[in-house]
């Protein structure tokens, strides 16, 4: 038994390095996707202190809108532009209907409001586009679909899906763009000001409402990109919701306000989960992917309550 837990998995890793590499790659891709969802959370949390539970659903909703429009005869690129428009309308609507009236409420109320938003988006998305799973229009959008197999060692083979590579590249571009946006632009500076202190930001003439709308829109764009990438790997449907929850442990690892944290946290969870499932999952009957991420995050939190990149919390009275 002890052998199975402590030694055998590592022997397997050593003996079948190609399989191990493949697992690492899978973990990497899953991690990138988790990180992208977490990124959307971080954007909104930084600027408004709202823990946006609906981020995962926004991913599905964006993907569903894109595919649904295309199914109804809209050309792919036009559908993409229209979807961006829809996310803009959603951002404006959320700011107007949810955020503005609920400003200054306790965290839990805002959290509940975003859960309410989650329900609304699920119902709305299914009502308009139907509840059955859909195929992502990967090719129509000009994204690569093939795969390349690398030979590894004497008989090993590692297969990389092109779409996964594209996902990684897009993720990097998006994080870089956000970084520039946050640090180099006027709105970015306003965003950081709002994140630090709402009232102080208001007092120097920053419009909270405008900032919130922008942030929700940015999160919507991130969600759209994530939705496309994710949809390309599996179907687009609200069943993805459960997977979207995985972004939460990622946030815990990385801290709610750190963009690099979201990326690193995503990768840790992605790797940890795939490796854990494939090498240790069999010992307890498999399927541990559904909770492993949370347990990793929980254990981690016990030792470092402020997350990977958070500052040490000094409690004051």
């Amino acid at each position: 038994m002890l052998y199975d837990i402590f030694i055998d998995p590592f022997v397997q890793m050593y003996e079948m390095p190609d399989f191990f590499l493949q697992v690492l790659w899978e973990g990497f891709v899953a991690g990138i996707l988790y990180a992208l969802i977490a990124l959307g959370f971080v954007l909104i949390f930084k600027a408004s202190g709202v823990f946006n539970f609906a981020q995962g659903i926004m991913v599905v909703f964006a993907g569903l809108t894109l595919v649904g429009l295309h199914e109804n005869g809209v050309p792919a690129y036009l559908a993409l532009i229209l979807t961006i428009g829809v996310m803009g309308v959603l951002a404006y609507g959320v700011e107007r209907v949810v955020m503005r009236p609920l400003v200054n409420q306790p965290d839990i109320i805002l959290l509940m409001a975003t859960i309410g938003l989650t329900y609304f988006l699920i119902g709305f998305g299914e009502f308009v586009f139907g509840g059955e799973p859909k195929q992502m229009i990967t090719e129509e959008l000009g994204l690569p679909t093939g795969s390349t197999a690398f030979e590894f060692g004497e008989r090993g083979l590692v297969i990389l899906q092109h779409i996964d590579i594209a996902a990684a590249v897009i993720a990097v571009i998006m994080v870089a763009a956000l970084g520039i946006f946050f640090n180099k632009t006027r709105i970015g500076r306003a965003l950081r000001a709002v994140a630090d202190d709402h009232q102080a930001a208001l007092s120097v003439g920053i419009s909270l409402n405008q900032i919130w709308a922008i942030v929700w829109f940015a999160a919507g764009l991130v969600a759209l990109a994530t939705g496309i990438m994710w949809g390309a790997r599996s179907d687009v449907s609200f069943a993805l919701e459960i997977v979207a929850f995985k972004a939460l442990p990622v946030l815990i690892l990385g801290g709610f306000t750190s963009i690099p944290g979201a990326i690193v946290g995503g990768l840790i969870i992605g790797f940890g989960e795939k490796i854990g499932e494939l090498y240790w999952g069999g010992l307890v009957g498999g399927g541990i992917e559904s909770w492993l991420a949370y347990i990793i995050a929980l254990i981690f939190l016990l030792f470092r309550p402020q997350g990977l990149f958070g500052e040490r919390i000094i409690e004051r009275v």
């Binding site: 040490r312 000094i314 009275v317």
Partner: protein
């Protein structure tokens, strides 16, 4: 009124202090830092039983940190704290509370969702012991205990003259009254040592006068030892028996008010002299 101070059953720790009756608390060479920032550097002073001890100093001098050290919320890296003749080990805040250290806060830290009555009752938590199953039943011992302590709490309410707001949620009270309720909550613990962190901050003259009177009454009627942080020098000079002055985390003076008032280092600290 006497009901308030009857609880001090003789514990072994107290029996020992009979020998060294005067000293309630002594702080020796305490240093505290957060990361690289030194909040308190090598401070020693003592608090005698029954006195009003003021801790003063400019903003950021480490006064509140000092109180936090005394009631176990921060753990100093160096130095010892002697409580009633015994060197205290590193302890949790609730242990300090059960040894008889009560506290009010610079920014009012009342339980906002509860009424004045419940807030003051919460100060009795340590003295109530009926377990969960009695609480489930309510009728009988739990109710008896509740009534017993309610009586003491009502004494405090009378003392502080806040009968009218007994059942008002504290969140709705004006600032001055909140401070008063907070004092009541600390008094309900029947403490040996009462730490008051700027009890008069943000008050107008009348409220300050009221509060000063309450503090003196607490000290004289109940014999409670008080350590007090305050910025209003007039109040400090009038109320306190002895004053310790901190500046940049260091002790610069210690003694009776008049002496401290005349101390050149203290004057420099307040008026600002280049260091």
């Amino acid at each position: 009124m006497n009901a308030l101070v009857t609880d001090s059953s003789m514990t072994s720790a107290e029996a020992e202090t009979q020998v060294e009756r005067e000293l309630l608390l002594r702080v020796d060479n305490v240093s505290l830092s957060f990361g690289g920032v030194k909040a308190i550097t090598d401070i020693s002073f003592d608090i005698q039983k029954g006195e009003i001890r003021a801790i003063i100093g400019p903003n950021g001098a480490g006064k509140t940190s000092m109180l936090n050290v005394i009631n176990g919320f921060y753990h100093p890296q160096e130095g010892t704290i002697t409580w009633q003749g015994k060197v205290r080990r590193k302890m949790k805040p609730y242990e300090a509370a059960s040894q008889g250290i009560a506290r009010t806060f610079q920014n009012v830290a009342l339980f906002k969702g509860m009424t004045t009555l419940d807030n003051i009752m919460s100060g009795r938590s340590l003295k109530m012991h009926k377990n969960f199953f009695w609480q489930l039943l309510w009728r009988g011992p739990a109710e008896q205990e509740e009534i017993e302590h309610r009586r003491k709490v009502e004494d405090i309410i009378d003392f502080l003259e806040i009968q009218a707001i007994r059942k008002t949620p504290v969140g709705r009270l004006p600032y001055g009254l909140q401070k008063r309720v907070e004092l009541g909550r600390a008094l309900a613990m029947e403490p040996e040592l009462l730490l008051l962190d700027e009890p008069m901050a943000g008050m107008n003259l009348e409220e300050k006068e009221d509060m000063s009177r309450f503090i003196l009454d607490v000290n004289q009627e109940f014999g409670t030892t008080i350590a007090l942080i305050e910025h209003d020098m007039g109040v400090v000079m009038d109320l306190s028996d002895r004053v310790v002055v901190l500046d940049y985390g260091k002790k610069i003076a210690d003694g009776p008010p008049e002496e401290v008032q005349a101390n050149q280092a203290v004057i420099d600290a307040y008026l600002g002299v280049s260091h």
